[in-house]
């Protein structure tokens, strides 16, 4: 019996454990296994194998029972996830339904989740921009949150490292506020996007660039080696891409890590807590519940990476209590779960343009069009609000198809291919300020099916966000007007935080253990063998789409963890 038990412990012992298999967890697994470390990756949801588990990927529109629309019963039962732009008949199976995994909204928060291998990397909008020192220096310059413990120079080589593997398309635009990367060819701007770009450059010295995105516009050998192929411009990404044309953990990092022979992938494993050994002064493993058998199992490793997605990473850490850490693992400072924030996506613009009618587009643009990098408060504070916003910008021509009337004339109208004027659109992506009053907490009483306390979430827009939104609408209206666009409309919606799917913070990085959870290596100040490299680590939010930064921080943190393991500092 004793021997059996020893064998069993041995079987449950790895060099590294990664909690979560999405955007950043997949990278942690890839990096550890590449370096020869036996790695266990734990995923709370089901497995989603590349291609095999994309049931809708090759379906035609008419093959969907409701032509894409979600049945009303599903919509009404799922008010939260139903608000997500991608929750339709072709991808609904990749989203958590409201009732499956309840949480408590101390303030309204639309928590959009993907509980499966690959997580939300299957569903993301694939926009990838680097941060610059304008972003990393933001909190110190403007006096909020705490100073980032890193600068652009620390992360730049790691951006390059992950970009080469993931495959990022873009132009070298030479902008200090949006540093260039290792790019595959960009998806070009169309005639009106290019016209607007030239106009705002000459008139405002602002920029509209080809949106940078994680699509293989022209794959390199490293992408073919992953089994991925050139993006086919289908724009059905949310179904899972059979070509691996965009970056997802499912198409890229996870199969790569599995191929090494060093990865054990364990789906259906909800992590309850991280085990802290007081005598050793370090974490020794994790406790999971197998969601099929309800069995509680412990796994052990020298180093633990927490990549459960921002809110759930906070949940795991808050629930990992011990005599040494009664308020959550590594939480000597008391800031764990606080200073959470999001992105302000609550305004968008539309207009029309009657020029350049000799042009249209053919096919589909995976990048979605143009990107306007932040231009507000860049070099110095110049408005009545802190920080700024980026914006999407795209132009497209629709077929002029009138639905008026009935009979053969209606039929003829519906088959017409006459092009309408150009439609243009933009949406804001604003930085929000992390505040102590914004938090995630564990509920005192309510628990989920696996005995884990429910998460309470509280964050909200503030006065700064309102001013920023007003400025976005004013600035875009002016830029649209001066470009000769007509029928300009601004729409401000009242979406709750969360729908941006860019929730961040709670276990922030910082130089001072008294005010932060993680050091400059994403390593816990207080527990040196636990790392957090998903959105929970973010000290501030800036306004770039964050996934690329999580990837780069993850690869960098694994490199550091491995060097510390080699030195014997992590054992």
């Amino acid at each position: 019996m004793a021997n059996l038990n020893i064998d069993s412990v041995k079987e449950r012992t790895f060099d590294a454990i990664v909690i979560g298999s999405g955007m950043s967890g997949g990278w942690a697994a890839k990096e550890f296994t590449d370096k020869g470390y036996k790695t266990l990756i734990l995923e709370r949801g089901r497995d989603v194998k590349h291609i095999k588990d994309y049931p809708t990927t090759n379906m035609y529109p008419w093959e969907f029972e409701h032509r894409g629309e979600m049945p009303m019963a599903v919509q009404e039962a799922n008010p939260v996830v139903n608000r997500c732009y991608a929750f339709h008949e072709d991808a609904a199976h990749f989203f958590v339904k409201d009732k499956e995994h309840p949480y408590i909204q101390d303030k309204p928060f639309d928590w959009i989740r993907g509980y499966q291998v690959g997580g939300k990397s299957l569903l993301w909008a694939r926009q990838t921009q680097r941060w610059s020192d304008f972003d990393f220096e933001g909190p110190a310059r403007d006096g909020f949150a705490v100073d980032w413990p890193i600068r652009y120079a620390d992360i730049a080589p790691w951006y390059s490292y992950v970009e080469k593997f993931a495959g990022i398309s873009g132009n070298k635009d030479g902008l200090a506020e949006l540093p260039d990367g290792e790019f595959l060819p960009a998806f070009p701007l169309n005639s009106v996007e290019q016209y607007f770009s030239k106009h705002v450059k000459s008139k405002y010295n602002r920029h509209v660039i080809s949106a940078r995105c994680a699509h293989l516009s022209k794959p390199n050998q490293i992408h073919l080696d992953q089994g991925r192929a050139q993006c086919q411009e289908r724009i059905l990404c949310q179904r899972g891409c059979p070509f691996g044309g965009y970056f997802s953990a499912n198409a890229s990092t996870i199969p790569w890590a599995l191929k090494s022979g060093n990865l054990t992938l364990r789906p259906h494993s909800v992590v309850q807590s991280i085990i802290y050994d007081e005598s050793k002064g370090k974490a020794t493993g994790v406790r999971i519940i197998d969601t099929n058998t309800k069995e509680a199992i412990e796994y052990y490793a020298k180093v633990i990476f927490v990549n459960a997605a921002a809110m759930n990473t906070n949940l795991v850490l808050l629930n990992s209590t011990s005599h040494r850490f009664p308020n959550g693992l590594g939480n000597d400072s008391g800031v764990l779960g606080k200073y959470v924030a999001f992105h302000n996506y609550s305004a968008h613009m539309s207009a029309e343009y009657d020029g350049l009618l000799e042009w249209t587009t053919d096919g589909r643009n995976p990048a979605g069009g143009g990107y306007i990098p932040r231009f507000r408060n860049l070099h110095k504070q110049e408005t009545g609000f802190l920080r700024g916003y980026a914006a999407g910008f795209s132009a497209y021509r629709r077929q002029n198809r009138s639905w008026d009337g009935v009979g053969s004339s209606l039929k003829e109208n519906l088959a017409k291919n006459d092009l309408g004027p150009w439609s243009v659109g933009s949406h804001m992506m604003g930085e929000t300020i992390p505040k102590e009053a914004s938090y995630v907490k564990l509920d005192d009483k309510l628990k989920d099916d696996w005995g884990v306390p429910l998460l309470k979430i509280s964050m909200d827009y503030d006065d700064n966000d309102a001013k920023m939104k007003k400025d976005y609408i004013e600035q875009l209206t002016e830029m649209f007007t001066s470009a000769g666009f007509t029928n300009i409309k601004a729409e401000s919606d009242h979406r709750a935080p969360g729908l941006d799917i860019h929730e961040m913070g709670g276990a922030r990085m910082g130089n001072d253990p008294k005010t932060s959870i993680l050091n400059k290596w994403n390593q816990m100040h207080a527990v040196n063998n636990v790392f957090v490299t998903d959105g929970a680590c973010m000290t501030s939010t800036s306004c770039q789409n964050p996934s690329l930064t999580y990837m780069a921080l993850t690869a960098r943190a694994v490199d550091h963890a491995v060097s510390e393991m080699k030195k014997g500092n992590i054992a």
């Binding site: 035609y60 032509r67 998806f187 289908r234 249209t360 096919g363 589909r364 643009n365 039929k411 006459d418």
Partner: protein, 184 residues
Amino acid sequence: MNRRTVIKNLALIIGGAAILPSCMQEKGKASIGLKNINIDADQEKLIGDMAETIIPKTTTPGAKDLQLHLFVLKMVDDCCTKKDQQDFITGMGQFTDLVKKQNNRSFSDCDAKQREEILLAIDKDRKDPKSTTYPPELKTFYNLVKGQTVNGYTTSKYFMTKQVVYELVPGRYNAFYPVKKQAV
């Protein structure tokens, strides 16, 4: 229309008919299973005749060939709120009564021209949202039949392969594509 198209369309029509066990149909009931709304055979016929008036058979398939009325019923049954479903049924009754009153016969007994005139009048009235010519339930009923007939038509396999061709895989993005004069 060339011979090949005719054969393909015929195949579509036969394919559509094959999934409908109409000969097995219990008298007086709708031919498809509905969970939330009660539709009898006469009402199904009314929706069918309305859909056929909206998208008539010409040299190309019409609503009945493409079973669009069944798509309308499915969408109302699955994708509408309870309120819209109730209004749909109420509005259908109002529509039936109105047609009888104005024409001294049912919609199905009207000829094609009369049917088109009846629907066109409602269609035009929609331009003025404040108009009280028709009761609101009737408008909801008409909007659902019209909207889902056109939705079903423009997303049908026939339309997306023969009229405005949908490509699952474009494999290209031309950002500057010259607009050529449409050959009529």
